[in-house]
């Protein structure tokens, strides 16, 4: 093993009511790709925030030794100066700015007092080459897909002459191809001498790329494994502290033949984009059934869900929608909810949660009437309801009065799920329900889904993780460029068949 570039010693960090890290030690060798894995709330993001100066010196106990020196970062700019760059779970680019503006934002190339745009564009072009991104640097970030945006983020980090690159769940919102690209890039950077730390819940890619893996559980380091000794099974065991043999629970239950939701010849036109986004979509959902929507990111699955769920973005729609055999037209998500449809969004921070409010307020928001009499909310009943979901869904939080923004990503997702289960829907649409969720919690969510369909609920699952779609669905619809490209039963569906339909 090379000499360590980074050593974090006996790191302890407490939040009110939560010990996020207790006495964690963590070592990264120069030039390696080091993966950090662990359950939701294990403390991975917190550890990286300490490293990058988000939590300043004095805010935690322990030492950070980088490049042989004890570092006392008091802000992100300190750690950047030392050569550490962090790319967060959520992208932090400015959509209305061009790629080159974004790359050099905060450390503009100047010629005297003015920004030297020509030099900026030239250098941006060079850096983009390094990240294998073949685009015009003058493109607006808004016009790039998430995968490319992610690469721009990395380009931005590289422009700062980075020695240690930290990526917090970089592939969680990328499709397979983009993920592959990203991993390839990390390998390239490794040959150029950049050390990387990557947090991920996708164990396959972790095993594929890591030189060393550190597992955190409940704020403690439980194992550090080198790439020769690691298996997925071993990792899971370290992460959750017990064995999980079959992550997809057994299907014991057969859906009925009764159709609860049917969409016929459904078209949608996006007024601001000025083009059709859904073309002649038809599908149906039976009572007690889980159907999967597979497809590439951007294929129109979220738009399909939104267009059914009261069309909040105001697409121009045509076609027919039937719920329990009755033709319906929803003008607002409210109408859809009243008819028994719930939609758990893919972007929990953007349009799923109210981050400044606490867990209980988020859980009850979509169904406040249930705990109200004549419009007056019963605050005590609310706490009770929230506690019930906290227990049932195993949400890790010191209390239901904790602000949602203080929860780890996976636990936020569970709050979203709890919110929609409290509505008591007949039809539940889950959009990327396990994005950023650890294996243990995934298993819990799958088990919950199975229980729900057993009780007669019907579920539409949109997911870009093929194994999950194949493992959970009774039937799979493949969406490609706003059209249904195919329909497969659970028995017929294989990874190859789905991918072929999705990409042509």
């Amino acid at each position: 093993m090379n000499a360590p570039i980074l050593e974090m010693k006996n790191i302890t960090k407490e939040f009110p009511g939560v010990k996020a890290l207790s006495d964690v030690s963590f070592q990264v060798a120069k030039g390696e790709i080091h993966c950090l894995v662990g359950e939701n709330g294990a403390g991975k993001s917190t550890l990286m925030k300490i490293l990058s100066g988000v939590y300043p010196q004095g805010n935690y106990n322990g030492d950070v030794i980088f490049n042989g020196h004890v570092q006392k970062f008091s802000s992100i700019s300190d750690s950047e100066k030392a050569g550490i760059a962090i790319i967060y779970q959520e992208l932090a680019l400015i959509p209305e700015m061009t790629v080159y503006e974004n790359i050099f934002l905060g450390h503009e190339i100047k010629n005297g007092l003015l920004i030297d745009w020509n030099e900026t564009i030239k250098q941006a072009g060079e850096i983009l080459k390094k990240v294998n991104l073949d685009i015009n640097p003058a493109t607006k970030v808004r016009n790039l897909g998430v995968g490319k945006q992610q690469l721009v983020e990395i380009a931005k980090a590289l422009s700062k002459d980075v020695k240690l690159l930290i990526l917090d769940e970089p592939t969680s919102s990328l499709n397979e191809t983009d993920s592959e690209n990203l991993l390839a890039l990390l390998r390239d950077l490794k040959h150029q001498g950049v050390t990387s730390i990557m947090i991920s819940h996708k164990l396959k890619e972790v095993i594929e790329i890591a030189d060393t893996i550190t597992v955190l559980r409940d704020g403690q380091t439980v194992a550090t494994l080198s790439k020769d000794e690691v298996t997925e099974h071993k990792l899971i065991k370290h992460m959750v502290g017990r064995e999980i043999n079959n992550i997809y629970p057994k299907r014991e239950h057969k859906p009925s033949q009764e159709i609860v939701l049917e969409v016929r010849n459904w078209n949608a036109y996006h007024p601001t984009l000025g083009r059709a986004i859904l073309k002649d979509v038809s599908f149906n959902l039976k009572k007690g059934e889980i159907i999967g929507f597979a497809g590439l990111i951007g294929s129109g699955r979220t738009e399909l869900a939104l267009s059914i769920f009261g069309n909040p973005d105001g697409y121009r729609l045509s076609g027919e929608l039937f719920v329990n055999g009755n033709k319906k037209q929803f003008h607002h998500p409210q109408d859809a909810i009243k008819t028994g449809i719930a939609y758990v969004t893919e972007d929990r921070k953007g349009d799923g949660l109210i981050l400044i409010q606490d867990v209980k307020q988020n859980i009850t928001l979509a169904n406040l009437h249930k705990i109200s009499q004549r419009g007056v909310v019963n605050n005590n009943a609310e706490i009770q309801v929230a506690n019930q979901y906290k227990t049932n869904l195993n949400i890790k939080t010191p209390s239901v009065e904790q602000k949602v923004s203080n929860l780890s990503g996976g636990n936020q997702q569970k709050v979203c799920l709890g919110k929609w289960l409290f509505v008591g829907p007949d039809i539940l649409i889950l959009d990327e329900p396990t994005r950023g969720i650890d294996v243990g919690a995934k298993y819990e969510i799958y088990t919950i889904m199975k229980d729900l369909v057993k009780q007669g609920m019907s579920i539409i699952m949109i997911s870009s993780e093929l194994p999950e779609v194949l493992g959970m669905s009774d039937r799979v619809y493949i969406v490609s460029a706003g059209k249904i490209a195919g329909e497969l039963t659970a028995e017929e569906a294989t990874q190859e068949k789905v991918m072929r339909l999705a990409t042509n």
Binding site: G310, P333, G352, Q357, Q361, L368, V377, N380
Partner: protein, 400 residues
């Protein structure tokens, strides 16, 4: 845990909320000392409350507006304009040529309805036409400014002769007949004060009992008693001061009612929760089945109604409608809301806080007037207090 430990903990957790009360208390104490007691005299306190009234009701409405991430600059001149309309509606056609000679019980609902309609127009521009509220209400600011001048063009200041109307801003609630005890004290005010204290205690005990029945955490009993004693002392003190003069003014009654109703709606009802949700994250609220559009109408409509109320209070206090009525009211109301802890980022703020904020701002004016400090310095001091309050708010918020 000892008494002091738990007291400290409660104080720390709620420092942001209590901070405002402490600030108000300190400001009042300072002025009481510098004016040798004149500031805290019954007469001055009554004056202070009546002066705060027309800003306080605006601040209540503005709180909701800022919570849903909007702003309304038109409220000052809307208040002034509707005050003038009310004055004209009551005026005798023999004195004012376009006077309508309407009775006061018709004029007040009429003015309030006009206010709601004006608010709905702003709401329409914001919700339906998607115009930024800053711009929409700036247009309103100009239009109502002009409208005041139009309606007062021929007459100038319109004197209001109706004594019932003028009582709103200057009168006091009647007293019960003299029964020989407590001469010189306003007994109905005293009685209401005692009633308020009893209601407060009963209510607090009920809440505590309900919480306990769910096995939820409640304040330690010593802290709970201390809180009750403290609140009772404040209500008692204010009641005593007011009862020593002419009792509760009608303005105070109106402001109290508005505060109670809005506070109840915002903290206890589904409607209030939805308003906070929209401020916290409009997209998430929409997808949760809340109609953001509808609530924008509701909040702007309520703002319009409260602007009308503010206009009524102000006109009645001056017993006349002037051409400059309403000038800068909107900024006072916005300042009061921010001093009271409303967050500019939306989703956070309390009605009661804004009322305290309004009291802080008028206390400053009133105290400095009594001390004979010039108007120029008054502006500077008020600006500094506004900045300080928001700095305090932002820093304590970050810590929690």
């Amino acid at each position: 845990m000892t008494f002091f430990d738990s007291a400290k903990k409660v104080l720390q957790q709620n420092i942001r909320e209590y901070g405002m009360y402490i600030a108000l208390f300190v400001i009042m104490a300072i002025f009481t000392i510098t004016t040798k007691g004149t500031f805290i005299s019954s007469r001055n306190i009554v004056n202070l409350i009546n002066q705060t009234g027309y800003i306080a009701v605006l601040a209540v409405g503005m709180t909701l507006i800022i919570i849903i991430r909007q702003i309304d600059l038109s409220v000052g001149f809307l208040a002034g304009f509707l005050g003038a309309i009310a004055a004209i509606a009551m005026a005798d056609p023999k004195v004012i040529s376009n006077g309508l000679n309407l009775p006061v019980y018709a004029v007040i609902p009429l003015t309030l309805s006009l206010g709601i309609m004006a608010g709905l127009v702003t709401g329409f521009l914001v919700a339906q036409m998607k115009i930024p509220s800053f711009v929409a209400s700036l247009a309103g600011w100009l239009i109502y400014r002009g409208a005041i001048l139009v309606v007062t063009e021929s007459t100038g200041t319109i004197i209001v002769a109706n004594s019932a109307f003028n009582a709103i801003g200057n009168g006091f609630i009647p007293d019960i007949p003299d029964i020989g005890i407590l001469p010189g004290v306003h007994k109905l005010t005293l009685l209401l004060g005692v009633l308020a204290v009893i209601l407060l205690i009963v209510n607090e005990f009920n809440n505590r009992r309900k919480k306990q029945s769910y096995n939820f955490e409640v304040l330690p009993v010593e802290i709970f008693s201390l809180k009750l004693i403290f609140l009772a002392a404040i209500i008692g003190g204010i009641t005593w001061i007011l009862a020593g003069y002419q009792g509760l003014s009608w303005t105070a009654v109106i402001v109290l009612l508005v505060t109670l109703i809005y506070n109840f709606v915002m903290s206890q009802t589904v409607l209030g929760r939805h308003i906070y949700a929209i401020g916290g994250n409009p997209d998430a609220a929409e997808l949760s089945g809340i109609s953001v559009k509808k609530l924008v109408y509701v909040v702007f409509g309520s703002m319009g109604m409260l602007s009308a109320l503010s206009g009524i209070l102000f006109t009645s206090r001056l017993q006349s409608a002037t051409t400059t009525a309403g000038t800068l009211f909107e900024l006072d109301a916005i300042a009061a809301a921010y001093v009271g802890g409303v967050s500019a980022a939306g989703g956070v703020g309390k009605v009661v806080g804004s009322i305290i904020g309004a009291l802080v701002m008028t206390s400053l004016t009133s105290g400095m007037n009594l001390m004979g400090i010039g108007i120029s310095y008054q502006y500077i001091v008020r600006g500094a207090v506004l900045a300080a309050a928001v700095i305090f708010d932002v820093t304590t918020r970050g810590k929690n």
